[in-house]
Symmetry: C2
Subunit: 118 residues, 2 copies
Amino acid sequence: MARAATTADAFNAVAEPRRRQILDLLAGGELPVNDLVELLGLAQPQVSKHLRVLREVGLVDVRDEGRQRVYRVNGQSLKPIHDWVKNFEQSWSQRFERLDSVLAELKERELGDERNDE
Amino acid sequence: MARAATTADAFNAVAEPRRRQILDLLAGGELPVNDLVELLGLAQPQVSKHLRVLREVGLVDVRDEGRQRVYRVNGQSLKPIHDWVKNFEQSWSQRFERLDSVLAELKERELGDERNDE
DNA sequence: AGAACATATACCCATATAGGAATATGTCAA
DNA sequence: TTGACATATTCCTATATGGGTATATGTTCT
């Protein structure tokens, strides 16, 4: 079997740096394809192809405006990624480190009580 | 050019569902390869290969223990993903929706004041 | 040393790329 | 209608993949 399709889910779609860049640009507001082409410094077909992938996983929506196609981000589709990564946040978050120390202290105190009971 | 290597960064490494599953399992505590093999119901070589990818992007660390190799998660490497996704959180978060409505209300009131000034 | 166990690596293959180039489709303007 | 503009699609190619299978490496036990 080969690697999963880029259109399989948001995880795969977003693995490509260009596509993340596109989403970053669209985060500032909707944009027509040509603006993206200029901002990315990428050939137009490549941009259209990236946009297709993003569309297929629901990360962007399109709107027709004259002969332009205006794209906008739909961050909702990123929620699964956010939810998954969040479970590992304690690995680096200062906040959780403090929580850990509090729990450790509670445990210490608990042990102390036990010792007193003996 | 082909797709970026799975070892290019955490984004690519984590695009594979099996590898996310491995990280989920390791989140509960370090595990030797064979335990992962059983828990995943996958062949041992495939697991070792997935672990290699995770190692190369720093998502897991290994420790030798007798003839076993015990893997543990290193969530730190997920921070870039967390940071990137966080910028889009307002797209789905209830919290931000309420913030939006508050801002909308403020704007309304401001407009009302302007009308009163005229 | 030899066997059993634990893990990693090598090799094969079908598949999906990402970018380049050419072209098709669709819309507006004269 | 014809041409210019905006975007999408098609075709090409080199490349990396994930699983299957066989095998190599390394460790412990007898």
